[in-house]
């Protein structure tokens, strides 16, 4: 039996907001792939807010012996978005109740954008991101890896919240392309055409999930057929 591993951030998950873009679990592309390929063994790990080192790390630490035929990865937006503070400061702000409130009511709406413009920090540095792309290749040398392009809405509205994010998305997508070559799966233009991105500029709506399913289906059909030969 062929084996496929899906690793994704919140883009692989259902979504209950905003109301008009509600996406049920049964409408997500991982679910649709599992239904379509009923003769293929799937493992799926999707978590909101994760970065590539976290997601790849889970696969490496627990699944190095599973030997999947195909690995589908969709993660990167949380790695590349410019951050106002370092990881350490972010953890301190989150851990303490008082600071957490300060963060929510003062820091985020008032100071965050200014800090990002002045001293943009990385949550995951470009070199660490690139190493993790190479790591998944290296730990799973027999698997065909498909890594989906990091995307945002066509309007570029996310740039309003995170100044500099579009440039970073280009940079991190460039690394994916250069390391994975044909394993890099472009999706931005296709999503633009069908208006498949949620109003939050970050997530897929149900049309987007359907589009990703179609794109991956053609890739998977070919990859799994080659495995049989």
């Amino acid at each position: 039996m062929k084996k496929v591993m899906i690793l994704a951030d919140s883009c692989g998950l259902p979504r209950s907001f905003p109301e008009e873009a509600r996406t049920a679990y049964e409408e997500t592309y991982p679910y649709a792939l599992r239904r379509h390929y009923s003769d293929v063994e799937f493992y799926q790990l999707c978590m909101g807010g994760v970065t590539a080192p976290e997601l790849v790390g889970q696969a490496v630490a627990y699944f190095d012996k599973w030997n999947p035929d195909v690995i589908i990865v969709q993660v990167g937006i949380d790695d590349c978005r410019p951050e106002p503070v370092s990881n350490f400061t972010r953890i301190v702000l989150t851990e303490f109740e008082f600071l957490h409130r300060l963060r929510a009511y003062v820091f985020k709406p008032v100071i965050m954008k200014k800090l990002i413009k002045l001293w943009p920090k990385h949550r995951v540095s470009p070199s660490k991101f690139k190493r993790n792309i190479k790591k998944i290749q290296s730990v799973f040398p027999n698997a065909q890896i498909f890594w989906l392009e990091i995307f945002t809405s066509e309007s570029g509205g996310y740039e309003e919240h995170r100044p500099g994010v579009l440039k970073r998305i280009d940079q991190y997508n460039g690394m994916l392309k250069s390391v994975l070559k044909s394993g890099f799966v472009p999706i931005q233009q296709e999503l633009n055409l069908v208006k498949g991105v949620n109003a939050d500029h970050l997530h897929l709506n149900r049309i987007g999930h359907k589009k990703i399913f179609d794109i991956l289906k053609s890739r998977l059909d070919q990859a799994l057929a080659e495995r049989k030969n």
């Binding site: 190095d64 190493r131 290296s138």
Partner: protein
Amino acid sequence: MEDKVKSIMARVFKIDPSLINDDTAPGNVNGWDSLKQMSLIAAFEDEFDIQIDDDEMQEMINYRVIVAIIKTYLED
């Protein structure tokens, strides 16, 4: 590079390098505990002049994965 990794593991765990293969892991090496894991990481860092991320230390669970991870540092 693989030979160097084997010789470091052999030195840290006091075993014959020829016994080390892809499946060599804490479960089949006597004394491969968390302290030895730290010694191992420190030895790799010294030998290859790299600094391994804290979160990757717990991913280094067998010889094959160790080699794969160190390779990504050397290519960096």
